[in-house]
């Protein structure tokens, strides 16, 4: 089946980096500027990179010649995970260039790369923070094997709960586990699977858009760009209290 982004995606290079800001700093600024999010580099990702372990799957375009110098690379997509020492990761939905909002193949390929690398790095749980009043995103995550856990984020009157899944299970549920990256990038999948990936990624992208626009109360997804220092014991899943009862860890995040 012909896909608008098929040929373009074949020219992209994809990789996972543990040092996004240092490795792609100018490209990151250029990429985020077009999304009106350039402030994230210095205000969030740079300090986060100093105190927490982050992992990012990136897709970038390369200029054929000259291959080095200003403008030689251009980022087209980024998916970030913040990893804790106890094998948990907080995800942020993949960010794509404005012209690639429906490039589901790229979003899915970034998700696959990131989740596979999380598995290799011994991460047991990957989680997204979802508005407790969310039906659209929560439903999509449930169908991909994510289940609500204990940790919560409160911000500007909105409450977000973590939805977590084992990365391997999520890959399988999304049908990405045994697929070649090229097939995913070109969406050379059966229509049911392509539709599933489409609803999953579009729901996440739309769900977080209100947060990026500064309307936190209307956001269905909260970005997983939280320093693990701020998390309660046990990280995203929380730990039982002294009495053995289930605690309800809450993280307060100001803007």
């Amino acid at each position: 089946m012909i896909n608008l982004y098929c040929e373009y995606n074949e020219r992209l290079e994809l990789k996972v980096t543990m040092d996004l800001v240092r490795e792609f700093r100018p490209e990151l600024f250029a990429f985020l500027r077009h999304l009106d999010l350039a402030h994230l580099v210095e205000e969030v990702w740079e300090p986060l990179g100093c105190s927490a372990r982050t992992m990012a799957a990136v897709a970038f375009e390369e200029r054929p010649w000259p291959p080095k110098g200003v403008g030689a690379r251009a980022l087209r997509g980024v998916a970030v995970a913040v990893i804790s020492d106890d094998g948990q990761a907080l995800l942020t939905p993949a960010l794509l260039s404005p012209q690639h909002t429906t490039n589901i193949g790229l979003a899915a390929a970034l998700t696959k790369l990131l989740l596979e690398d999380l598995i290799e790095n011994g991460v047991d749980w990957a989680a997204l923070l979802v508005n407790t009043r969310s039906q659209v995103v929560a439903g999509e995550l449930r169908s991909a094997g994510f289940v609500p856990r204990e940790a919560r984020v409160l911000s500007e009157g909105a409450e977000f709960v973590s939805f977590a899944a084992a990365p391997k299970a999520a890959l399988e549920q999304l049908g990405l586990a045994d697929r070649r990256l090229g097939d995913i990038l070109s969406l050379s999948l059966d229509q049911n699977q392509a539709s599933r990936l489409t609803s999953f990624h579009l729901a996440l992208a739309a769900g977080i858009s209100n947060y990026w626009a500064g309307r936190v109360g209307w956001a269905e997804v909260f970005p997983g760009l939280i320093d693990w220092v701020a998390l309660p014991p046990g990280g995203i899943t929380g730990t039982p209290g002294p009495g053995g009862g289930v605690i309800d860890p809450v993280i307060f995040v100001g803007r």
Partner: protein
């Protein structure tokens, strides 16, 4: 002295992403030609190749093979040359 200049580049892909036929497969490795347009811009064009297909293009055209993500990409390449012979060699040939 003869100077050989590449004029036409020829690429034959020997395997592809399709496992049918028992050939080794690969993922990625797109052949991209960067075609100059009259307005001075350059447009990247992916050349759709399957095992056994051949593409020929002007050797002065920028082209590249994108990284192979998995497997091994086998291809055969050949060039057609233009040979510029020196005046001396041309004279020698005319004497024969």
């Amino acid at each position: 002295m003869a100077v050989r200049t590449r004029v036409i580049s020829i690429v034959c892909l020997l395997n592809d992403a399709d496992s049918l036929g028992g050939l080794p497969v690969f993922d990625g490795g797109a052949l991209v030609l960067h075609v100059p347009k009259s307005d001075g811009t350059v447009t990247p064009v992916n050349v759709p190749l399957s095992a056994g297909s051949i593409v020929a293009f002007s050797s002065d055209l920028f082209h590249e093979v994108r990284p192979v993500r998995s497997g091994i990409r086998f291809s055969a390449v050949a060039w057609l040359y233009e040979v510029n012979q020196s005046e001396e060699q041309l004279n020698d040939q005319s004497l024969l």
